[in-house]
Symmetry: C2
Subunit: 575 residues, 2 copies
């Protein structure tokens, strides 16, 4: 039977039980969100002892299915004040599944003032004081210290200096197969982990078997069909493997939806200097890797190894959103400078979207000049030093906006708005406004249908069809986030019906179920219902489902505004 | 007919109209809150162009009635995100009434980046660029500059450096009859004024007559009875005139409700060093004034002139709450140091409660040591410099808590909890939790009945009777805040029935009305209804009507906890 492990950080008592009945049919985001909605006091302080941090792999995590490597992390968010699920690649989730651990829950707060490494093996859970040198250390080096101590293959979940400081943009970092860094990035979950005095969780699956499959043949057959869908679709089979997510810079710039200079315009004339094509050329010229998977079994391989001028590894998981936020929104046309910043975000352990958007807000405030790469890097380095300015920046875009008295602050529910202007890509604007997560493109990626023409086409500049698009994608995404699949599989299954069917067939084959497409939709709806119910009890209402008022300004080149009524916005999640 | 003046700071268009029908029967808080609820978009950014700042004197402001000098200021609060009414003494409100100005509303935001002085005379409203030297200047000196330019007797409303920086604890300062400083302190209204680029509003009532009174004889007679009540009651007739509000230090310490070391305990052994008796002795020894009124016609005279060791004026309006926050809660046993801090709060223009509580939170965070007077003053001076640390502190206790990752942060709706421990003075705890204003003792001062035995007695440590007490006081206070009366008159009218009747009679005599006590109660309820309706639309729900969870810890010496259920708390404003 799958194990459900509760770790009390105050008493150090560990309870390993069979999965409680009410969570039995759930995994990934479905499990973390249902758990948080059920068991976390909605009105609690996110850094107080009532909050709980849960890790749960998805239905298929750790199986041989392509791209099934995701781990969901959940808690009440210190950034938004609402529920948070943030998922990540890396090796941690797959090891949990192989060890038949359905979820690990961290509860309470130690009385003593020291950091712990929580170790999980087939023998159970134990606690070590964190090695002194890891405190305040960058994540790359700290992972090395832990893997030297606990074994080179252990999975690692770790907080950096930002998590130790409990900053609201602090993330949880996870070692990937090359011991580089993947992140459960958004919403400040690293601060929750830091509040519980957990520097790291290491997981050693020595002695674990394979993930149990109820019907091996059916699984194999479905898995093959699923793989075919991924390799056939142009986005997952060609675009992402070749250029990574950063292929989007030129596409969004062309579409007029690449937010530039703190969302003043949707197009700029230096986009190509920072785009995916330029990045791929540079990576090849410097002997890096243009394609690379963040977990075992990934066949999309949208990550990369970006080397510095000397050919030395600098960063990976160097995403479009980070490049956009510094490159377009903060007007920095220097891809190397952005790569150094991306590395530092991983080292210090912060959400690269929220803090990179915060850099743009800092420019808006006049703290540093627009487009100044050197000043931006210096500013970002303040976080690790724990200076007041670093703490403000590491608390995210909303915090910079508050401390500097600005109203032009691109956030929803205090979480930074990502890389697609909501006026020019209206479907994703509705997602930003209404997802229970705070502004989050991944919660209902209408960019796919608005811009990439995946899953049909809805005119990005018009209102027609956008409400339904955002609603359906949010429902589908909640379900996909429960499967353990990378969200990018959605490109393929939105267009290729057999890919979607194969995904459902794999889940059925693994668990001996007979779920239908309708069941998947109902799962997605139920997850969103639980999340919204938590948020309501936490004090988030429709009034928080609003974009900042500055989006009433026209956005060039299409001169579009955010023109949905409150009633239209409120109809998105009307079930 | 009373004038209702709207000032558009973008176009500089001024509209002077008769008071709109729907505001005709309202004044003071009743007018500001109804106006904000009706005309400010509840979901707007408080520093954006949709917010509006309104000044309105009360029903009796500017009459010959004792203690009728208050001016209400209202807007959407940048601190709480909800509605805000903050009222003040000084000369401004009385001049407005004499000029028959019912309200002044400031709307919109200038496109140009410069500060204005808005000048109001009997001839109308005009705009000057603010004198360059006043920008960044402390309020005492800036008021001198303005009174040198506009006349020594003009009323002045001004923001200090904190308001220019649009910090969420920035207040609006008002010159009193001696050109010292009174404040509309709470909720960041100075940031709203700063966002509208108004450095100051000067009002010159040259040519104005007296406030019109419908029935002069009835007014005189009622006024006399009212004065008798004030001079007869021990609190308004003796305690406050003799020692000021700081008389409360020893009283609350004795009661075990003086929050000490960031609300760790309710009693300490250095209270007498900072109490009202010690303060009065020191003031006398240094040739200051132990009693002084903040507006013409005050007969309670709870203010004072506190001089430094050289006998030079240092500060006035040196209140119990400020002395408590630094003296007990931040453990600073040096009254002179607290006085220097109080002066700086007035100079830089911040709420002395929120920022002084923030100093305690900064000690909690380890930024400076507990009780370190020198370090506290240095820290407070950072605000004026506009450093990142100063901006954090000047944004209030909640901001310090967020940037330093703390959960022990004494705020409700992000506004700092004042000087009475809610566990040991439970009635005021219910007020903190439920008032639409964010934690505010003045919104329903149950301390009166819990501790001072005014208006009867309700055991401060028990739950019985507290819900009704807080409810009734909140209703009465909303009405009193509409009269233009200093809230301290409530001590007298709670105990002396004829004092209350005289107050109603004065309002009737002024306007030719025949209001009853029931009408006054209904007025109070309607104000609270309007405020709660605004807050609901702004996204504040019952989930925000909660004290921080650390109040579940026991508070010595009575070892009491905050033990109201959510249902009990939610029943306070159940009408």
């Amino acid at each position: 039977m799958p194990k459900f492990i509760r770790v009390d950080m105050k008493s150090k008592k560990v309870t390993t039980e069979e999965c409680p009945e009410n969570y039995a049919g759930l995994a990934g985001r479905g499990l973390t969100s249902t758990f948080v909605a059920n068991e976390v006091k909605a009105s609690c302080h996110p850094l107080g002892h009532y909050n709980k941090l849960i890790f749960a792999p998805g239905y298929l995590t750790g199986t041989s299915a392509a791209n099934s490597g995701r781990l969901s992390c959940g808690a009440k968010s210190p950034l938004t004040g609402g529920i948070k699920e943030s998922n990540t690649g890396g090796t941690f989730g797959q090891k949990m599944s192989k060890m038949d651990i359905k979820a690990i829950v961290f509860e309470e707060i130690p009385a003593e003032d020291k950091y712990y490494v929580v170790k999980i093996t087939m023998d159970g859970v134990s606690f070590d004081e964190a090695p002194a040198e890891t405190i305040g250390m960058g994540n790359y080096a700290a992972i090395k210290v832990l893997q030297a101590k606990y074994g080179p293959k252990v999975g690692v979940a770790i907080i950096g200096p930002a998590g130790e400081m409990r900053l609201t943009a602090a993330n949880i970092s996870f070692a990937d197969p090359q011991s580089n860094i993947r992140s459960a990035g958004r919403g400040g979950l690293g601060a929750v982990m830091g509040s519980k005095k957990i520097k790291a969780v290491v997981i050693d699956d020595t002695g674990a078997g394979k993930v149990a499959i109820a019907d091996v043949e059916a699984f194999k057959s479905a898995s093959k069909r699923f793989t075919t869908a991924l390799t056939t679709h142009p986005v997952t089979g060609q675009g992402l493997p070749k250029y990574g997510t950063n292929v989007l810079v030129n596409i969004l710039n062309e579409a007029g939806g690449l937010p530039t200079k703190n969302f003043r315009t949707g197009r700029n004339d230096w986009a190509n200097d920072i785009g995916g094509e330029t990045m791929a050329e540079r990576i090849e010229a410097r002997g890096g890797k243009t394609t690379h998977g963040c977990h075992a079994g990934c066949i999309i391989r949208c990550s990369q190894h970006y080397n510095d001028k000397e050919g030395k590894y600098l960063t990976s998981g160097f995403e479009y959103e980070t490049v956009w936020a510094l490159g377009a929104n903060a007007c920095i046309d220097d891809l190397d400078a952005i790569a150094y910043a991306d590395r530092e975000f991983d080292e210090v352990g912060v959400d690269s979207i929220d803090v990179a958007v915060a850099v743009g807000v800092a420019m808006e405030a006049g703290i540093i000049p627009w487009g100044d790469a050197k000043a931006s890097l210096d500013l970002i380095m303040e976080i690790r030093k724990g200076t007041p300015l670093g703490r403000i920046l590491g608390s995210g875009a909303a915090a910079v906006g508050q401390m500097y008295g600005l109203s032009r602050v691109p956030v929803v529910k205090k979480q930074a708005i990502p890389a697609y202007d909501p006026r020019a890509v209206k479907g994703v604007g509705l997602t930003y406004a209404t997802t229970p997560m705070g502004a989050d493109h991944t919660a209902g990626y209408a960019v796919a249908t608005n811009i990439l023409k995946v899953g049909g086409f809805v005119d990005p500049l018009g209102k027609e069809g956008q409400v339904e698009l955002s609603r359906n994608l949010q429902i589908a995404t909640a379900a996909v986030d429960s499967t353990g699949m990378c969200l990018f599989i959605a490109f393929a299954i939105l267009d290729i019906a057999d890919g979607f069917n194969a995904l459902v067939d794999m889940i059925n084959a693994r668990y001996g179920l007979s779920l239908t497409a309708d069941d998947v939709v109902e799962l997605g709806k139920n997850i969103l219902r639980a999340e919204r119910d938590f948020n309501k009890r936490a004090g988030l209402t429709n009034a928080h489902d609003r974009l900042p008022e500055f989006f009433e300004e026209e956005c060039a080149p299409h001169n579009v505004t955010w023109d949905f009524t409150d009633e239209e916005v409120d109809s998105v999640l009307n079930f």
